[in-house]
Symmetry: C2
Subunit: 339 residues, 2 copies
């Protein structure tokens, strides 16, 4: 019975209905009217305790928030408008109703700016850890989805925002716990921790890229630039020349790299969960893109050039020397002179 | 790397594409063309180790199969045609690649008769148990979804198939483990265990009920007749008179009840995971329904009558006496003379 009372509470508090939600939470399934002239886009992302998060260091609001962002970011990378979310949740016995509501509050916070409606889900007990799996569906004008496979030699490689901040934030939190003496201003700490705890997804930018056909391919940075760029290149069957000197980094990241003796390029290449968009732009579309970026105040940085497949994936370090881009996100990579 | 190789293997082995699957597994999200003139129906169902299944007694094929059936059955209860599935999977370290493929094989077995396409998912490590969450989407002609809320006083209550078999099958398995001497033919054992291990969902029947507007409301029996009937009545704001003597039971269930000294009515009311459809039919549609059942060889049984809400939920035992229908699936209920 508690389960049904909880579902009813969640429905009233977080469930949203609208003209297109014929039936939301509370039936065997949700019933939705698909927007005319659009294709459906669906993704699912899973967070498991001890692998993706630690309840000792992350609040339940944060966990819910980040689960939603991971999904919203996938839709952003397709150029899609997010519409609906379904929540699958397994709770251990030490998770009481207020805890579950905190998780939902975090998810709702992430979804609110995009008016994404919670339309259903499933809640169960867990004999062990907390598991949270979200499915987000959205839509895109027919034929305009941004695939990973559309990049062509000659296209420019762009990225939004700055790289590596979320990983640096995680490391700052870890160092704080170990009470080490990291010489970093509290403002810089705050910036990095906030980027780790409250990353931002970019569905509106994704929609601009798809709607105006500005991007030829896109992927979101969840595993790290190095790994995600590899996916994009493999699926497009192209190579890439990445420019280390161009990688956008926040002042906070540079300060952290200095004070911790870490290579900022390594952080930028390997840092996951930034949820920035990585995309390619045909030369003919570059001017329109930059005008759009200026008009909307978006930070977009050109970080490389798509090459034929035989070129492979290479990075030009700040001295101009080309090296193979490391294959995995964990391989150490160090460029000279940047630090 | 192993993760990506596994995803690629799953894509090639189990991924399906078709004219409406613009992009399946392998991008940030799936892209699908919605069928014209239809509404979307979406559900998610979650199985967690130690709560919904036990890897000591259930094979991984079985677990995958049942996860898919739970979702397909939800769509059946909406009168929807199932179209796509997304799989969210967290695997403990003792789960190797062949184990994961067994899970997928089970899901594929359940989906194959309905040509449901696997279009995406997320796979992660789990620090503790196995966790499997599926999202299935489908579609229904506009305005024809079978809701739980459409039952009206005077409607007839119907159920497909037979009740309680899955629960009896589970109990047979439990008793076998405890090596007790249950006097039951091996044929009856097989029938009941099969109903527990390989339940069947009824999306085609659901589509007939919605397509011809035969049912006014529907729900699938996942929690048990008693609990699921309660959901239907509450959401339709009606009461019900259930007829104990009419509850359809298999010969195997009756044999099991006799040999174990269990009340078969209790098994029929409380047994979950039968995945039969429970639905209400306006009197004017009853003749067409029965003709359809005859033509298709479907077993449909009228088990009660929808009453005004003030009547409450009552059950008429075999002596004709009315009693309140127990509220929870665990409350003991015993009718005289049936056993």
């Amino acid at each position: 019975m508690r389960e049904f009372a909880l579902i009813e509470h969640i429905r009233r508090r977080f469930g949203r209905t609208g003209p297109s939600v014929v039936r939301g939470i509370g039936d065997d399934a949700a019933v939705l009217t698909p927007p005319p002239g659009r294709q459906l886009v669906m993704t699912t992302d899973l967070l498991t305790e001890g692998v993706h998060f630690d309840r000792q260091t992350a609040s339940l609001e944060e966990i819910g928030y980040k689960a939603a962002i991971a999904n919203l970011s996938d839709l952003a990378a397709m150029g899609a408008r997010p519409d609906y979310v379904l929540v699958s949740l397994a709770c251990p016995s030490d998770c009481a109703t207020p805890d579950i509501l905190r998780l939902y509050r975090g998810m709702a916070d992430a979804c609110r700016p995009y008016r994404v409606a919670l339309v259903g889900g499933d809640t169960s007990a867990s004999r062990s850890g907390l598991f949270l799996s979200l499915t987000v569906t959205g839509s895109v004008p027919i034929g305009k989805a941004l695939l990973r496979s559309g990049a062509r030699p000659g296209d420019r490689l762009y990225v939004t925002g700055t790289l590596g901040d979320a990983l640096a934030g995680l490391q700052v939190l870890g160092k704080k716990r170990r009470a080490s003496s990291l010489r970093l201003s509290s403002a810089a700490r705050r910036v990095l921790i906030e980027r780790h705890r409250r990353p931002i997804a970019h569905p509106r930018l994704g929609q601009m890229l798809s709607g105006h056909r500005l991007a030829s391919a896109a992927i979101d940075l969840s595993d790290g630039l190095s790994g995600d760029l590899r996916h994009l290149c493999e699926q497009s069957r192209v190579g890439v020349e990445l420019d280390a000197a161009a990688l956008p980094m926040s002042p906070a990241l540079r300060a952290y790299a200095r004070s911790s003796g870490t290579d900022p390029i390594t952080l930028a290449l390997q840092g996951g969960e930034d949820y920035e968009l990585l995309f390619t732009v045909p030369p003919s579309k570059e001017r329109v893109l930059l005008r759009m970026a200026q008009r909307t105040g978006r930070r977009l940085t050109r970080i490389g050039l798509i090459k034929p497949a035989r070129f492979g994936r290479q990075i030009k370090d700040v001295t101009g020397r080309l090296r193979r881009l490391p294959n995995t996100s964990y391989e150490h990579f160090r460029s000279s002179g940047v630090k």
